[in-house]
Amino acid sequence: MTMSKLTNLKPGDTLPGRDYCPDNVQNFMYSAALWNAHRIHFDMPYAADVEGYPGIVMSGPMLGDWLTQCVIEWLDDVGQMTHLAYSNRKAAFIGETVTSGGRVISVDHDKGTADLEIFIKNEAGEVIAPGTATVTFDKA
């Protein structure tokens, strides 16, 4: 099982993504789990009047978590993620649907590793959180 996934892997293969449309409840629970009281994530008058945002801002590291979900769900317990890098380039707001996805960049069959490109896109198709990950497949 493990080896067949790696054996057949090639650059360009895509990682299935997911749509995420968090509401205020989920965004609140995320901030609460983090213990993050930054007002832009729950206080609409503050977000608009003081920081000039058109909506409640989705937490940046929540988008980062969805990148990890893309990798881990695709990996399906046949290996580990050993490296992750991402950045938040553009804000997304509650009410929007964002989509995760990715593709295989390179495969090292000898080492049993693969480098991945991952992303979160907004509804306009802009990549708002680009990232890369490295996975190591378990030995059969």
Binding site: Q26, L34, A37, R39, W66, L84, A85, Y86
Partner: protein, 171 residues
Amino acid sequence: MTKDHNQLNMSGADKKHSASTTELLSEELLSHIGRTSAPRTEIVSRREIRKYAIATGWKKKEYLDGDVAPPLFHLPLFWDIVELDQLSPDGVSIDRLLPKFPLEKAMAGGLDIEYFRPIRAGDVLVATRTLTNIYEKSGSQGPIIFYEVVMRVETEAGDLVLTEKTTRLLR
């Protein structure tokens, strides 16, 4: 001042001179590079893993049950907990590892993480944060200050769990 400290300091200064047209970063400010926080120890609880896995919408059972933590669980585990009067009016806690910067509007940043071992319920983990770089670049809308903080997470026995480099921008 250690030798390492001076080397880090010089690399910060080099980047500043190669990339910037303004001079926002004083020698005093750059002298904070190399500063390290006191180690922080936290116990990983099943309840906190479950809260985090549910709030982020995971489908994986071992995360939802709280047995193993999702890859970014160290963010809530080591998020600063301060008293109410230590929050700024925007609800953000002041990071005492950082000096006072001449620019203050925090922009999006990035994370770069290396993983060595998963985090499980019951683990006792120790985190140490180091301010590893400060540099300046000129952007289209004016100067930007970048800073980097490296967090090293280990078990109590000293086994490395992960290292994380955070890069943040100030305008």
